[in-house]
Amino acid sequence: MDNIDENKLTKRKKRTQNISFFILGFLGYTVLFILVVILGFIVVKGFSAISWDFLTKMPEEGMTKGGIFPAIIGTLYLVLGSILFAFPVGVLAAIYMNEYVKDGIIKKVIKQMTNNLSGIPSIVFGLFGMSLFVNKLGFGDSILAGSLTLGLLVLPVIIRTTEEALKSVDDTFRHASIGLGASKWQTTKNVVLPIAFPNIITGLILSVGRVSGETAPILFTVAAYFLPKLPHSIFDQAMALPYHLYVISTSGTNIEESRPIAYGTALVLVMIVLITNLLANALRKYFSKKVKMN
């Protein structure tokens, strides 16, 4: 009796297990499939447009010919500028929040605000950037205004990931350092930050991806419809890949003819994000190794 029951039970368990494995596996592969299809689509459609000239030349003949060099450079400048602004500010803010502020209402309010900030639509950031940086502070449509706007957009991302990274550092390291007579700042700088750094880099990776792809915040703050020269200073306007993509797919001089260029632009954008991610990943690996070896 007992034996038969056991066998049945085992069988039923196995069946449930198989079904759930199948469903989980199916869903997992579906996601992968969608990703591959999107990437494949862009690569297939865009690959023919890619050439040395495409990457290094100015747009020509109403953006139906020529290259996208100024847009690539513009996007790189914007990524660099926004990270230069947002990374130090975000990391320092997170350090303050996690290491210095005691638990209480103020901390809760700041946290909630940070969360809310990340929920604001990016077009609103664009409007805000326009009224503050472009008009009020008089930066005009410029790389500076665009970078600051994009920086504000990713600030919550950097603060959140840095906070998580700091939180994951075991308190016992802090106590050991403070127990030796180190100050809070010495402890943070010499012990906590090096341990948290690899994870802080994750926030950087996420921000780079976000910044290079955003269109709305740069719409009113920096992006030029057509500007066949490179920016000379941070007060110049610039072209940028996502906006260029938008322009040549919706309001170019000849949308049909510039279709391959649009896909090529998309491919370059995806590649830039991919390459920066790989670079940042290598950076993260390097730092986690350094933490262990040093």
Binding site: F173, G179, G181, A182, Q186, P194, N294
Partner: protein, 250 residues
């Protein structure tokens, strides 16, 4: 004058009282064991002496804690130099993710010593003091994580010794170690006694009996009994102590 002393010390975590009116005196060059079941307040008491409790939000401390006759909770007391004078060893070996050398040098560097010669000298002396030198002298540049748990804990003790404290506070220093490493640390405690005043929190009654001169038994935030270790273990005055050390509760 006693090396350490607490006078009518009360500690509160928010509304709950963690220590009730504790009076203890501890003499120079002795080992004092703090025993008692989990949550009895023995770790809280240990952390009074280097003010590590200050790191906890909502804590309130009443009474006087004296080191060399000076109240360390006095207004304007220098907490950093207090901590320099009290090396602490923790429950789990917690070397920094730095090299073996840098781990021991860290306390010196944060306290403003930058002369490499002095640092190298002190690092060597401290590691020799914990009998780890022969095992690590050829790999000082290697990560401290490459050492075994027992070696790591001795390294942490060396790290505490490097800043030349006069007091060593140990919070269950062997609870994560195997028996052989444990006996090495115990031997070390015995040797260090001649130079330092040691207070050790332990869950292990045999350990308290082996290493300490005096033992304090805490229960629910109260000091139940405080006496010479031999006396407390062979002839406890309070029934609750008797029950605890014979393992009837805990």
């Amino acid at each position: 004058m006693h090396k350490l002393e607490s006078k009518n010390v009360n500690v509160y975590y928010g509304a709950s009282q963690a220590l009730k009116d504790i009076n203890i005196t501890i003499d120079n060059n002795t080992v004092t064991a703090l025993i008692g079941p989990s949550g009895c307040g023995k770790s809280t008491y240990l952390r009074l002496f280097n003010r590590m409790n200050d790191l906890i939000d909502n804590i309130k401390i009443d009474g006087e804690v004296l080191i060399d006759g000076k109240n360390i909770y006095e207004k304007g007391a220098n907490v950093d130099s207090l901590r320099k004078n009290t090396g602490m060893v923790f429950q789990k070996p917690n070397p920094f993710p730095k090299s073996i050398f840098e781990n021991v040098a860290y306390g010196l560097k944060v306290n403003g010593i930058s002369d490499n010669k002095i640092i190298e000298e002190r690092v060597e002396t401290s590691i020799k003091q914990v009998a780890l030198w022969d095992e690590v002298k050829d790999k000082l540049k290697k990560s401290a994580f490459e050492l075994s748990g027992g070696q790591q804990q001795r390294l942490c003790i060396a790290r505490a010794l490097a800043i030349q404290p006069s007091i060593i506070l140990m919070d269950e220093p062997t609870s994560a170690l195997d028996p052989i490493s444990t006996s090495k640390v115990e031997e070390l405690i015995y040797e260090l006694k001649s130079k330092y005043t040691i207070v050790i929190v332990t869950h292990n009654m045999q350990q308290a009996a082996r290493v300490s001169d005096h033992t304090a038994f805490f229960y629910l935030g109260e000091l139940v009994e405080y006496n010479a270790t031999k006396e407390l273990f062979t002839n406890p005055k309070v029934e609750r102590t008797q029950n605890y050390i014979t393992g009837r509760f805990g």
